[in-house]
């Protein structure tokens, strides 16, 4: 039973669209509507977000969310997008599950955990090459070339 096989095909598609739209809406809410969540009741998380905003990191992540969300919705470079999304989600999950006491943040943390966890599993086969015990150096472009040579053409 493969992740892209007929039984899982539409479930993976649903999760990809769900997570992609979630990122897209979150980023567009900030970039277009200018919505910034009220972190004043979020305790230590509020201080952390304020510090991120001060150095421009919060804004940068919001614009990155638009790009990553669009990549997932349009099914372009999904494994690459998931790596960046996992980094963003790890921070969100840590803050929302362990630091922020608010129930809404608890929901957000669990939602992120389930979606990124499932998608990383579903697309995890693309990262199998990362798990070699011993690896020789390989330039990125050389890896791309060997990928192209090994790709199955229909």
């Amino acid at each position: 039973m493969t992740a892209g096989g007929s039984r899982w095909h539409y479930i993976v598609l649903f999760a990809r669209l769900y997570y992609g739209i979630h990122f897209l809406v979150s980023g567009l809410n900030y970039a277009v509507m200018g919505v910034v969540p009220d972190f004043s009741k979020a305790g230590a998380v509020g201080d952390y977000m304020a510090a991120l905003s001060e150095v421009g990191m919060y804004q940068g992540v919001k614009y990155l969310e638009i790009v990553l969300g669009a990549m997932l919705v349009l099914n372009r470079f999904v494994p690459l997008a998931l790596i960046f999304m996992a980094a963003i989600s790890a921070v969100i999950i840590y803050l929302n599950l362990l630091i922020s006491p608010h129930p809404r943040q608890l929901f957000t943390g669990i939602q992120e955990l389930i979606l990124i966890g499932f998608l990383l599993l579903a697309y995890g086969g693309h990262y199998a090459g990362f798990c070699k015990r011993r690896s020789a150096p390989l330039w990125f472009w050389d890896g791309l070339r060997s990928n192209d040579a090994g790709a199955h053409r229909p």
């Binding site: 096989g5 039984r7 095909h9 539409y10 479930i11 669209l17 739209i21 809406v25 929901f107 939602q111």
Partner: protein
């Protein structure tokens, strides 16, 4: 086709119920489109894709989601 619809309907329904219950903490807080709208839209788009695939497969004589 029918099996795909039933499985997808179940997954989307369970997800929506879980999102509604968890995001409102069992209706203690107001329901927001921001929370339930995302899985709802993703579900609708997935059903549309399933429908288009089924139509295409009907012409080919295969099953949707294959290949």
């Amino acid at each position: 086709m029918k099996r795909h619809v039933v499985i997808l309907l179940g997954v989307v329904a369970v997800t929506l119920i879980a999102v509604v219950l968890a995001s409102t903490t069992f209706f203690e807080r107001p329901l927001r489109l921001y929370d339930y709208g995302t899985p709802l839209l993703a579900g609708v788009l997935t059903f549309l894709k399933l429908w288009f695939d089924a139509r295409a497969a009907a012409h080919r004589g295969g099953a949707p989601g294959e290949g």
